[in-house]
Subunit: 136 residues, 2 copies
DNA sequence: CATTACGTTGACGTTAACGTCAACATTTAC
DNA sequence: GTAAATGTTGACGTTAACGTCAACGTAATG
């Protein structure tokens, strides 16, 4: 008994902050397969969930093909164990990558703050004409 | 008195696991400007550092133009304070993004492990023909 | 009922960051 | 000294994930 709300393409587009073109593109790629009313696409809550999965994958840097695999896992009778293990492996790699990115980011922030300090010091020296103490 | 070791293009390529084409491409884009011996490129430790900065930026998802800015910060007389602040802002956004990615990843891992369990349960039931207890 | 908004398909364009290949010069290794 | 490796420039190709039209039909609104 899942909610059987339906959505128009623009509903989903605005909800998720993407364009309708994008949604149709996902369909072209086999990630979505909405019902139709005539030629008009009708999306159901299952489609909405799939879209969510796609966007989550996207944030994590997955390709659409990889997201397609993920969707497959929710789709009964489409769960391939090898594929599943591949995805898990990919996630672990992603975790490693995220750790690397964190450390990269830390270093970069340090560098930037140092550059900022240098800049401010240079500025201070320039405006105060090498004064060491601020006069009272 | 910085180390004045020099490098050939292939030295750097193998050290950093990139292709020579990539290095030349970075030069085309103005990120590197090695000395030349005739037509052959000669890289110095400063160039090597720049390359490191580029690759760090790349890991963090910076564009080459953004890495160019970063290089500029190390290059005296090229430090623009606005640019610096933009970079800091970008780093903060990146941090937020990384946090989002972490949480996305956690959820995804949970999903995958659940899918795995389901799969194994299904498998066990199939092979044991619905036995509940293992015979002694 | 006219206009505006929204929907459709199909084709082609875009961007970043290289890959690939040609055609050639120069080193390096044996 | 000759073959194999490495270097060069220049041009064109590639890929993913859409954007941007065009040309058209349908729906909603005042």
């Amino acid at each position: 008994m899942s909610k059987n709300k339906t959505y128009k393409i623009s509903d989903l587009a605005t909800e998720f902050g993407i364009t309708t073109r994008t949604i149709r593109f996902y369909e072209e790629k086999g990630l979505l397969a909405p019902k139709r009313a005539g030629s008009t696409r009708i999306y159901q809550s299952a489609d909405r969930v799939k879209l969510k999965l796609i966007l989550r994958g996207k944030r994590l840097g997955l390709t659409l093909d990889e997201s397609l695999d993920i969707i497959g896992l929710y789709d009964p009778a489409h769960g391939n164990i090898d594929q599943l293990h591949q995805l898990i492996t990919k996630c672990q790699e992603k975790r490693t990558q995220l750790q690397q990115q964190y450390s990269d980011l830390e270093v970069m922030m340090l560098d930037l703050r140092n550059a900022e300090k240098k800049y401010q010091t240079a500025l201070a020296e320039a405006t105060s004409s090498h004064q060491t103490k601020i006069p009272v």
